[in-house]
Assembly symmetry: C2
Homo-oligomer: 100 residues x 2
């Protein structure tokens, strides 16, 4: 099962790191406890829509950008999951055909 | 404040309507109460990641597609909000400049 919060956490953490911000700084900016943000980044807690908006503001990143990046990561995960559902012989034929 | 659940609700309802499904059918498919799905579609309740995955499965729509559509709607909302923050005189100049 592809879980939204897992990929949302990855995107929020990456965005924070890219901006050189600490959990403490984002916590102060978004007025959310440091522990809660940490759990969201690890995909362990759901973020309410209000909290997500506050985090985006603290990171100075539009919500639409966050969601687009999450969508990309989820699409890669879905493609990988679909690939593992193809029987090995069929997958081998695909490789052979694409190489031909 | 741009709220994720509002746009998620719009996308989920549109997807259900496009497929000609009733709330009752999605409710049975996703094993979620009809009332709860209705509240999610109206943007009144947050959907957990597990529930969102179940709804996507019931709608036969990849989560990545749902999130991409939500991202588009949010981007339009963000652009509209940014436009209203530009003072009227500056906006008029933009219109004149873009017409020149």
């Amino acid at each position: 099962m592809v879980l939204f919060r897992r990929f949302l956490g990855d995107v929020l953490r990456d965005a924070r790191m890219q901006r050189g911000l600490t959990l403490r700084e984002v916590s102060a900016g978004a007025r959310v406890s440091l522990g809660y943000i940490s759990e969201i980044e690890r995909g362990q807690k759901e973020a309410s829509s209000e909290l997500l908006a506050s985090l985006c503001a603290a990171l100075d990143m539009p919500l639409s950008d966050v969601l687009r990046e999450v969508s990309h990561l989820v699409a890669v995960e879905e493609a990988a999951a679909a690939l593992t559902r193809i029987p090995v012989a069929a997958r081998a034929r695909q490789v052979v055909n694409s190489a031909a």
